[in-house]
């Protein structure tokens, strides 16, 4: 095993490979930071250009891109409330309030260090589980995936304490939207109102750009001033403090990294679930849950650690079975094929050195991008001092263009605008956007897996009680639902939280 790991390192430590890794990292940072572009677009554009490269160099380039995208996404999420890609939307929830308080440096420092540590933990976990990767992937069938989706919804609902009813309303609305479009199980188009754009449902990334970036810009233009208008200066010197905060909250980093690793390894679940699940469980575990959404640094650390840990582990279903964990991985599979590597069980046997090279490239890029993120955090923090009259038109234009660029569809721009207004209304009336986003992400998957489970078991619900992973997930749900009553009881008895 060790010789394979070293073979991967050796392959990567060539001048040409390092050059392409660095190039990929810079491209990843840029594409990650621009709302709507993200890793999938970068890889789609780069894949034909790798035609003339040898496979290892192409993997170094792709690893560089994929490892750096999350850091780029964190920067725009924190500073502008504009998630570069869907998983970064969770970072907006507390990262941007910190920027509004003049603590952008603190948030960026914490995000960069959580990114790097999450990436390293993710790599170590993947190296440990790669030999049993196939068994892990096979543990999650439709019943488990359905319960996982329900667990995600419960976690988020119970995390929105104090505004549970509004959280549920937002969640139900998100679920309703997620059911629009083509039903994979029945082959029927639903709720599309004859609009061809909606055949594929409401596209997630344009919706998130609207819900966060455009909503924030509307809010900012209504209020006037700069993002950090209440702060006399931006806390740019607190980058180092942000780095230290990550170490201080090592439990949050570890939890986020483990969630990212496990969720990433489950085929078809994706990074958005990982980041929001990590965020919500951190809120659940916190002694001060009310501070989340208002600028709690753990709300930045938790999703960031999960996103990068997930990046490594989502290679498992992609490489082991050719089942991509998300769009980025799907496009990456195209690059593998172009270089003569067919994802599937044989790839784990025939291309082991390349796989380890890719894992190291991802990790290296993630650490380098985080380092670069720390370096540029200070000048970038000054963005939060720019007046809204300049910032709003620029960010709104970038957001709308980015939304269009997702798949060059003008319908995306309309979705972004509609969700922008919706997001502003939600901010205005204090409805949690978190529950709506998670419902949007999980709704269709929950429905499909429920249907498939019903077909598998001929409608017998006892299937959920005969599978080990299902029992673990059911126990988790029970614990989450009981926890608030337990906390209430302890509070009533005057016991510590």
């Amino acid at each position: 095993m060790l010789h394979l790991w070293l073979g991967g390192v050796e392959g990567l430590l060539q001048a040409r490979e390092l050059l392409f890794l660095g190039l990929g990292m810079l491209i990843g940072l840029f594409f990650g930071a621009i709302p709507g572009l993200g890793g999938a677009t970068a890889l789609a554009l780069l894949t034909p250009l790798t035609y003339g490269l040898d496979s290892f160099t192409a993997l170094a380039l792709a690893g560089g891109v994929m490892g750096a995208v999350p850091m780029g996404g964190s920067i725009s999420a924190i500073l502008l409330n504009a998630p570069g890609s869907a998983p970064s939307a969770a970072t907006c929830l507390d990262g941007h309030p910190l920027a509004q308080q003049g603590k952008a440096g603190l948030a960026l420092g914490a995000a960069a260090s959580a990114n790097a540590i999450g990436g390293i933990i993710g790599t170590v976990s993947v190296l440990a589980i790669l030999p049993i990767a196939k068994d892990l992937v096979l543990l999650f069938g439709p019943p488990e995936l359905f319960l996982l989706a329900v667990l995600g919804l419960i976690v988020v609902s119970t995390a929105s304490r104090g505004k549970m009813l509004r959280g549920l309303i937002a969640g139900v609305f998100g679920l309703m939207i997620s059911f629009i479009g083509y039903n994979d199980v029945t082959g029927v188009l639903r709720f599309t109102a004859g609009i061809a754009y909606l055949w594929d449902g409401v596209h997630l990334v344009p919706a998130l750009i609207g819900l966060f970036a455009v909503a924030e810009m509307i809010n900012l233009s209504v209020k006037g001033g700069a993002i950090a208008k209440d702060a006399k200066t931006v806390g740019i010197t607190s980058v180092t403090s942000g780095l230290l905060e990550t170490f201080r909250h090592w439990r949050t980093v570890l939890r986020g990294s483990l969630i990212g690793t496990v969720v990433g390894a489950i085929p078809g679940v994706g990074g958005t679930v990982a980041s929001f699940l990590s965020y919500s469980l951190t809120v659940q575990a916190s002694a001060d849950p009310e501070s989340f959404g208002k600028g709690n640094i753990q709300g930045v650390i938790a999703p960031e650690a999960a996103i990068n840990a997930k990046d490594c582990s989502c290679l498992i279903p992609t490489l082991a079975f050719g089942v991509p964990g998300g769009v980025e991985m799907a496009v990456f599979m195209g690059l593998l094929v172009l270089h003569g590597m067919q994802p599937g069980p044989l790839m784990l046997i025939d291309h082991q050195v390349e796989i380890y090279g890719l894992i190291w490239a991802l990790t290296g890029s993630c650490v380098l991008a985080s380092f670069l993120g720390l370096l540029v955090a200070r000048p970038l923090s000054l963005l939060t001092l720019i007046d809204s009259q300049i910032l709003v038109p620029v960010v709104t234009a970038v957001a709308l263009v980015g939304s269009y660029a997702v798949d060059r569809n003008i319908g995306n721009v309309l979705v972004t605008a509609i969700f922008g207004i919706l997001g502003y209304v939600m901010i205005r009336f204090d409805y949690p956007r978190l529950t709506m986003v998670v419902a949007l992400v999980l709704g269709a998957a929950a429905e499909r897996n429920f249907h498939q489970t019903t077909m598998m078991s001929d409608g017998n619900l006892s299937v959920y009680f005969h599978r080990k992973v299902c029992l673990v997930l059911l126990a988790g749900m029970a614990a989450l639902l009981i926890a608030p009553f337990f906390r209430g009881f302890r509070k009533f008895r005057g016991l510590p939280k």
Partner: protein, 320 residues
Amino acid sequence: MNSRVTRRRFVLTAGAARSLLAADADFPARNIDFIIPKAPGGGFDNLVRVIAPALEKYLPHKVNVVPDNIPAGGGGKGIGQLYRARPDGYTIGAVDLPGSFILQERQGGAGFDLNKISWLCAMGKPEYFCLAVGANSPLKSFDDLKALSGTRAVKFTSSGPEGTAYAATVVGANLLGVRAQLITGYKGSSDFVVGAIRGDGDAVIAPVTSIRPMQQSRTVRILATFEPRGSFAGVPDAAALGQPELSRILLDRLVGAPPGLPAGIKTILSAAFAKTMADSRTVDLAKKFEVDLAPNSADQATARVRESAAFYGKWKKVLS
């Protein structure tokens, strides 16, 4: 009616002909959009992405061939968009059969007619299907599967009802006399083959190209192949199963352009595709994921559409 050729009419006709010829000579002058009516990452998408860079090499002018995934509506939106595009050669698209026939039948609203599309070539030889189970399945042979079918419907994992695999499963099970119940909704062949390995269903009917790597890694066991002459040792083929019709269940991956494509542009595109299908690097790459590329013509592709339509036409009632 005055049939006299006036000087004015001659000049106008000659001008129009010249501009058409010039358009053909200039073609392609800008990037070509290659619609893939499937999500990124599947075998279909991969094949287009392998072919696209080679196709650029064989076009008379240097332009990019840009793959564009439009998977909505089970692929109906992508094929509809291809059908309604301007027939100028700048929009081409990949279409799989027989799934697209079912799409056409069920989604009248998608508004396309496969018989009117200008077919350019086939991306590889038609592929046969086979019937497989997970390596840990209690079903050891086709006879075991038949015996199970006698007690209850055999559960097959498959794509949505408008997928090619769905059609192959329904028709294949019918020909084999196996009572089938389909677990649908999997996204792509890798996904539903993994579903069968995991035990979501009893078995899977999938293209040989998707199953062979899994068989080589001993992840699946093949119980029957629909090939006329089996390529798996000890596995009954269509002849041995007493159902030669099984070998007519084929997966075709064709490339088409909107109806009314000018003959000159069609010739340019077909010739470029024929060269691409013979390009040694592209052939090698395709072979790595079990697709046999071979030069073929627009007429051969059109003939495949007719043959497929004739075969699946008989099963229309069962499929829709």
